[in-house]
Symmetry: C2
Subunit: 300 residues, 2 copies
């Protein structure tokens, strides 16, 4: 089934202990689109400036991503993020952000996207997230991502958006803050009480845990000894998760478990190189092979 | 099969956001003995002073723990540890340590313990650990725990002890330091290259991961929203792990996986209350019920 993603498209400058790259393809929607394209056709809703290299557009097109929702703003500049990671690389330090065309982005949904069944609202203003999802009454399953900025500044709007969608995905620190507890499980139960139907929490190198209808499911991360750049891990985790759900059209609890495993292995490839370099070097069969290896590492 | 534990017996003073307790039963060998007694008969090798309350001795005896290796030093004082936990309670802050009789403890193995098949060397000087294990040629499976102090001050002796035993258990920070990498998987592979045959890494609320013969196995923690005191979590994790191995006499890879799950659920009870209070309030059937619930949370 079709999978729509709404979110940022960026030019990133990233520094890690393994090197530094400038103006590489980034942004939640870029990472999500390429990663989800292993599973199902993807529709992209986003905005770029006229400085955005045509080769990146070609790349997205080559992955079969529907670009009718890609707005190229004449005279505008693409969103730019610059960040660095040190030591264990478990947190990014933002060095510079220029919202540019993303600053006043009001997504207009093309008619051709109106029948989108699966929808992923990447991290953005929850007012915009709610606005988009309200225009898609035919959606079967929508999830949103968020960040501490919105938890701190637009908490009520965020909770309203969370109640509109079928699930939320966030990292553990965000879940602790929004759920109001340093205990993650307590915080997740609190999010459930706030109206979140499915809560998926990403814990980076510590795996992921989800909660729906009072039931928990948890997985460790795929064990990796060669992490080069964590940028995009969360977005491609969501892509593997949503991609598998959209491809199968099945949102049962047992399929959500498999989706969490697909999210885990998809993200595990992403962090093995900068930008989308590693994901672009593999095939779907590589994802499935790593999924099998992962299953043998977590079941007995 | 019999399970011998060598380690500290302490009187702890512990402060967490959920309260403060003074002079409660603590120490790695105490936690280990009580927790492992759910699985198999336990033999204890340790030292106390004549200030050690008789009720704690009675408690250990009531769990069927063999106390022929418990030395009560006349005129000496029991090892005391005072520590506190804040916020997420993921690290203990030591407020005071008095080694007392533990300071010059040289374990003498009673003849009745000489045929011990399974041996757990709780955290202590690696020279002492090596000395004990060398006196037990009939052992089938020995593991040791350690801490940053020995990694920093007696690295060579620690590596020598690690090569004598069948496995090591440590927390993730210790594994990163001893393995020489901020990447845990890289560090575990490095420990393997140093001569560790089985490496079990405890990650607290993030679960556990182990490595043997190039194969990894990982489990998340049991999801808990009511953690009161993390003291003893690592020791009772090791007790569930070693207890299951000793009870079954089976150290195959598939049984090690089940042992890791038993370690996880055993520790999950420990942290729900201070000292051994929670473990003393449950029965073996409670452990098995939680194991079943845990399995449904991690398999699909």
């Amino acid at each position: 089934m079709s999978l729509l993603v709404v979110g940022s498209i960026a030019l990133d400058t990233v520094k890690t202990p393994f090197g530094e790259r400038s103006d590489i393809l980034g942004g939640a929607a870029s990472f999500f689109s390429v990663a989800a394209s292993f599973f199902t056709p993807v529709r992209l809703l986003g905005v770029i400036g006229d400085d955005f290299p045509e080769c990146h557009v070609d790349l997205l097109r080559s992955r079969g991503v529907d670009l009718r929702g890609l707005e190229r703003r004449a005279g505008g500049k693409t969103f730019r993020w610059s960040g660095s990671y040190e030591g264990r690389m478990d947190t990014a330090t933002t060095r510079d952000v220029k919202l540019n065309v993303l600053g006043d982005f009001k997504p207009t949904i093309p008619d051709a996207y109106m029948d989108s069944a699966f929808v992923f609202l990447a991290n953005t203003d929850p007012v915009t997230q709610a606005h988009v999802v309200r225009q898609l009454p035919g959606r079967r399953f929508a999830m949103l991502d968020t960040m501490n900025l919105w938890i701190d500044t637009k908490r009520d709007a965020l909770i309203e958006a969370i109640r509109l969608v079928d699930g939320v995905v966030m990292n553990d620190e965000e879940a602790r803050v929004l759920g109001g507890s340093s205990n993650l499980i307590f915080a997740m139960n609190a999010l459930s009480n706030l109206g979140a139907r499915l809560i998926v929490v990403k814990k980076g190198e510590h795996g992921a845990v989800m909660l729906r209808d009072g039931a928990f499911f948890a997985l460790p991360a795929y064990p990796l000894d060669g992490v080069k750049d964590p940028t995009g891990a969360g977005d491609t985790f969501a892509a593997g998760f949503m991609g598998h759900l959209a491809a199968t059209g099945d949102t049962s609890w047992s399929n959500l478990k498999k989706a969490l495993a697909y999210g885990t292995v998809t993200a595990s490839f992403t962090v093995e190189d900068f930008s989308l370099d590693r994901l672009l070097a593999i095939e779907r069969a590589d994802l499935d092979r790593r999924l099998s290896a992962f299953i043998s590492m977590v079941t007995w």
